[in-house]
Amino acid sequence: MSHEPFETFAAVYAVDALDGDDLAQFEAHLPTCATCQATVREAQETLTRATLSMPPQSPPPTARAALVRRVAERRERRSYGWLRWAAATAVAASAAAMFASTQVAVRYEARLGQMARETAAVRERLARNEAALQEQVAFYRGAVELLRDPATRVVDLRGQGTESTATGRMVWNDTAGGHLVVAGLRPAPAGKVYEAWTIAAGAKPAGLFAVDQEGRALHRVPPETGVKVFAVTLEPEGGVPAPTGPIVLASK
């Protein structure tokens, strides 16, 4: 490659407009070429002179006041400001190495570690919330889909016994299955779980579920023909093939 293209690249690079392969080529070339370094420098000085040919205009005085105040702050504060900035950039690692022997580094590393832990915790919480939300959205979308089918019926479940304030609603379709929404049900005690049942000739297990802190649950039930009654019982953890515990919710 002749040097000529680089002279053009140098000009475009100086106005910060070089991109793609040209940029990659030029950035590989620039450190090795004093001519191009001089060209870029000269172009930058030219652009600077062109810029300074605009009529001067003072920024609002508040900008100066804020800066003077910032600069006047105690030296420690200045370090903190700098560290915050460093933490936000890739310079952080090398900066930490530079200051490794000072007390600043100790505080800095402690802060960085804390930030990393906080970030990880936030990220985890967000991921969990997002997964839960998506699950809910999918559930409701499924229920809405079901409701479009004229064969779909909505069945109310009433709380029974000690859970008389609990309520449930089943959106049911014989061929697609059901979506059960539960509210006001106390979380199952330790070692226990709620189990749903579809009852036709006999009771058939329809899955296990838990309720959240507010006593709510969304639960999907597999399809079954000829179901007459829906029920929920409290069962040992792991569930059982036939109901053994107290009924907490049942349809009429």
């Binding site: 053009t8 000009a11 991109d19 605009m54």
Partner: protein
């Protein structure tokens, strides 16, 4: 005889706050028009100025006189920061039209002549001495932060033409702004 800029930066590197104040007073009014021209909003421009000079204070130790004048040092920082701000706005998806100065492109004529002349005064810079096609590419690259490919697309010109125009524009600018 005012203290040379190089000495001010050296003093800043040593922690001299008074030197910083003098540096600010000398250079802020010179770079503010550039920043304002790029970000187009006085409050935003004031923010950028604060960032630029704060970084200059912090980064004074890294200044190398062999690599450029103090003017270029602060102007390049200011331009980069202002473009960052504009690009961030663009990334947020706000409809942002790259600020090509139409008034500077057009010849002042007709009923809007007075308004245009006023705009023109703002940009009565060395740029005004460039032929329109060259001025246009410098506008888009230096003041709007577009890359060569973006400029080619926007002007519907071949990439090679854009590159050549930029190079010619810089050569011409150099003639009209002797060091």
């Amino acid at each position: 005889m005012p203290t040379p800029g190089v000495d001010l930066i050296r003093a800043m590197a040593a922690g001299d706050r008074d030197a910083f104040a003098r540096f600010y007073d000398r250079y802020a009014p010179l770079v503010f028009p550039l920043v304002l021209r790029i970000v187009r909003d006085r409050a935003d421009a004031a923010d950028v100025i604060q960032d630029v000079f704060w970084e200059a204070w912090r980064g004074a130790t890294t200044y190398d006189p062999g690599r450029g004048t103090p003017e270029a040092w602060i102007v390049m920082r200011a331009r980069a920061r202002a473009i960052d701000r504009v690009r961030a706005v663009r990334r947020r998806g706000e409809t942002f039209v790259a600020p090509v100065d139409e008034a500077a492109m057009a010849e002042p004529a007709g009923p809007d002549a007075a308004a245009r002349a006023q705009d023109r005064q703002l940009v009565a810079t060395a740029l005004a001495l460039l032929p329109a096609p060259q001025r246009e590419v410098i506008e888009l690259a230096y003041f709007a932060g577009l890359t060569q490919s973006e400029i080619a697309e926007r002007l519907e010109q071949p990439l090679g033409t854009v590159k050549t125009r930029i190079r010619m524009a810089l050569a011409r600018l150099r003639e009209v702004t002797p060091a």
